[in-house]
Amino acid sequence: MSLIYPRDSLKAHPLNATPAYGSTVKRAPSKPLILLPHTLSETTGPVFGHTGVAAGDSDLTRQHQGEPLGERIIVSGRVLDEDGRPVPHTLVEIWQANAGGRYVHVRDQHPAPLDPNFTGAGRALTDAEGRYRFVTIKPGAYPWRNHHNAWRPAHIHFSLFGPSFLSRVITQMYFPGDPLFKYDPIFQSVTDERARERLISRFDLGTTEPEWALGYTFDIVLRGRNATPVEEPHDH
């Protein structure tokens, strides 16, 4: 399938120079970005088959002997392109804090307990319709030192490849109605309101499993449009 990648779509992204997020101040490039033509180097990208994903990688509650503490949730959705077409068989990687807001990472010093039954890393491949599904626990909010009394809204980090180097994206999924949204410079770095709302999952009774886990839906739209939309033969 041949895809085009409109540059206008990039306006949804935050600016790297977002001073309210302190770590950007010394890390954002100061010179203008150079417009890169979309050559074969950009329109191709790695393909990950089932070799990269083991059975059980998508259930973060069953990676240890016991069950993790916290609110069990199902996070599912579709990966789509800019035309709304599913992106099938593409890799989704996630990572997150535990229910207490603590990451397994060695440099996370937040004084909340680690959970011996939770690592917080998962992988899945989308199916033929672009669907993915994870079982995990709801991550806690956690403090950070960006400014006085700074707390990150609960979030799950997502990494996706899509069809090419151009569709590669790392993002974060948030939960609906979080009171921390308005204070969080990372969430607010996305200045377009509609784009920002695309980062928020929806509570979904339809994927909620009775007596088991709440369902949240998070659809992800990657760069890329079909170069030649196909007309159906019998339509007028």
Binding site: S9, A12, H13, P14, L15, N16, T18, G22, S23, T24, V25, K26, R27, P29, S30, K31, L33, L36, P37, T39, L40, S41, E42, T44, G45, P46, A54, L80, E82, D83, G84, R85, E93, I94, W95, V104, H105, V106, A121, H157, S159, F165, V169, I170, T171, I186, S189, V190, D192, A195, R198, V221, L222, R223, N226, P229, V230, E231, E232, D235
Partner: protein
């Protein structure tokens, strides 16, 4: 009605892309989990033994605008094989994709083969190069750049290097040291700032 219209109706009215967010400081246990004993999707070994082509090693550091070493970055590379082909099946041991963490010592490296030249826009040829993505705490949108190679005759006619202001081109060219290792440092900001692309 086109299938595109049907797809739009099925999935809702809004197809803007999902915005990027920072990788944050704590990705390693998921994305580069060697130290945590986790399964690695990809590593700094892009080409295994026996893959056709000249084997090369690339080493570098990431620096911030103060010249301080960045120790929480992830670098990914994407490249053609020695004959300039992408995604070739039948080239066992070569994925074309590498992923490395900039470690606490601040360095990253890749072991791969020198890619071939590839077709560029308008019948031009692009000199051998690697496509690079830089992710880190404080980087809200992936930074895209390229690694070219010192002494490569094709560099002079490369259509992408030609878009880079002459005084900044050197920031994209890996230099070979006395041990034969290519050095490629990434400077996010300020003096010697690496040329980054809007892809």
């Amino acid at each position: 009605m086109t299938t595109e219209t049907q797809a739009r109706q099925a999935a809702g009215p809004d197809f803007g892309i999902t915005p990027s967010q920072t990788i944050g400081p704590f990705f390693a246990y998921a994305l580069t989990p060697r130290a945590y004993g986790g399964p690695e999707l990809a590593t700094e070994q892009v080409a295994g033994e026996g893959v056709e082509g000249e084997r090369i090693r690339i080493e570098g550091h990431v620096y911030d605008g103060d010249g301080a070493v960045v120790i929480d970055a992830m670098i990914e590379i994407w490249q053609a094989d020695a004959r300039g082909r992408f995604n070739t099946s039948g080239n066992a041991g070569f994925s074309g994709f590498g992923r490395a963490e900039a470690t606490a010592e601040g360095g990253f490296h890749f072991e791969t083969i020198r890619p071939g030249a590839i077709e560029g826009p308008g019948g031009t040829m692009q000199a051998p190069h690697l496509s690079v993505s830089v992710f880190a705490r404080g980087i809200l949108v992936r930074l895209a750049t390229r690694i070219y190679f010192e002494g490569e005759p094709g560099n002079a006619a490369d259509p992408v290097l030609a878009l880079v202001p002459a005084e900044r081109r050197e920031t994209l060219i890996a230099k070979r040291d006395e041990n034969g290792v290519y050095r490629f440092d990434i400077r996010l900001q300020g003096e010697g700032e690496t040329a980054f692309f809007a892809a």
